[in-house]
Amino acid sequence: MTDLTDLGVAAIRDGVRMGQFSAVEVADAFVVKVAQAKALNAFLVETPDHVLAAARQADAARAAGELLKPLAGVPIGMKDLFCTTGVATTAASHILEGFVPTYESTVSQNLWDAGAGMLGKLNMDQFAMGSSNETSAFGNVISPWRRGDGGNADLAPGGSSGGSAAAVSARLCPGATGTDTGGSIRQPAAFTGISGIKPTYGRCSRWGTIAFASSLDQAGPMARDVRDCAILLEAMSGFDAKDGTSLQLDVPKWEHGLSSNLSGLRVGIPKEYRIDGSPVEIDELWQRGIDWLKDAGATIVDVSLPHTKYALPAYYIIAPAEASSNLARYDGVRYGLRDLPEGAGLQDMYAATRADGFGAEVKRRILIGTYVLSAGFYDAYFTQASKIRTLIARDFERAFTQCDVILTPTAPSSAFALGEKSADPLAMYLNDVFTVPSSLAGLPAMSVPGGLDKQGLPLGLQIIGKPLDEQGVLNAGLAIEERAGFTARPSQWW
């Protein structure tokens, strides 16, 4: 029999429905894999009971001849940013160590309602701030990929959804949840040779998802192929009255709508995404992507997004500003860590708790945010950045009068080694140069694997769509996937 952990979301769903294997067999197989992969440090908490309970329900429903739920029998990994009832949720920060939510996030609840089960909570960059998973308070996630140079350098799985990326890529789970504020689903997906989609802002409820930058945060799925992403996104999305920015729209049947015939589709190529000094392999990958989409029937048009170079600096005002406000809630009073030095007053308790509980990158961003929002600087920084955000969104609006989707590389390089960029915050921030603009504009965007570089590491292509056009993004992604024929996977060393 095939190794059940080699199967993706659709294959598991269909196999359970048809009785080729039981949901419990699937759950058991993944539970073993997760337990054997400690070296990757992808999971912060393992929840075999949760996944087995869901599997038993699926098997019982099938035995009773009931109609199975959309994700019956599918085990998934849950990024530790989503609150899960009775299961520790920390956002990979010391300040939330020991926090056990008494409620369930809407996104995770939607997945459980669809029949999925949870293998565990996935490691990540602390409060989703980082691009390499090195800011977790509970240790780096190690990418399952290794360079082909014979060296054993530990590579970054990307971030912030690095645990999700590593786990899916290492076949510890067929799919996982991620969140994307400036590229935190797409960049790790690219680094680990998997697919991931950030939907239009407002598709997935933010309720119960630990907040980083609320005007940008969006949940989305990470899985091995486009179909699996479509299936998971359908389950995760939907209107939620508990989130004021939730879109009151029906969830399209994205899986049913999948089609890689792109005839009539116009694909925009933004010249501003060609950056000096980027590896030639990135340009070559981009060109292959263009050829694949042409082959699928699309026409290619050059477009311009003139404010692209300002997206990253604008993001590093807006996101830290929102973070400094959102993270004010961690004060040692209502939940999480409390550090009360001998004889300290209330103010000292706040300051000691936050100094002790937040990691260096989180503090850095809170300080930047506090600075740009402080009296005398607000207009020069925050208001100016918010105006530039308007201009960036307008760039996309204009481009979308000439094209239907936009194709770019996902990241400016393949995965770097752990420690390679951690000493220079700015170099780390620049890794999100291709993903941040679409986040600022709230657009759906996905990364699909496009091939390997000379070192044998995955590279991703990004498709950006019009607001609410996840279908167009998924379909272009599918066309690339079919032509890229990406079957590479990391060989197991863990």
Binding site: A328, R338, L367, T370, K387
Partner: protein, 100 residues
């Protein structure tokens, strides 16, 4: 240098994060570097541009003006709210004495 140690300590105070002199001295050039890079936003002419407030046009909904309109986010959850409190007493969060 635009961001010096004194500024960092002032910001850290506003953000309620205790900071040592050594840490402030280490962080000052980092922040200065990042904020210096951000300065380039000043070269964009934004006259007549409205700052973005909502990325996807949406209308604010009103719920019915009733108690516990949504039981999940409604009231009556004191014990549940207290379960993660570092310190509580008689259903209240407790903090160090603030009034002498």
């Amino acid at each position: 240098m635009a961001v010096d140690t004194t500024t960092v300590k002032k910001i850290a105070g506003l953000a309620r994060i205790a900071i040592t002199d050594e840490d402030a001295a280490r962080i000052a050039p980092e922040l200065d570097n990042i904020l210096g890079w951000i300065e380039q936003l000043g070269e964009v002419d934004t006259s007549g541009v409205e700052p973005m407030t909502a990325v996807i046009p949406n209308t604010l909904r009103l719920r019915d003006d009733v108690i516990d309109a949504d039981p999940l986010t409604g009231g009556g959850k004191r014990d549940q709210l207290m379960t993660n409190a570092p310190q509580g007493d008689h259903g209240f969060f407790t903090v160090p004495k603030v009034i002498e």
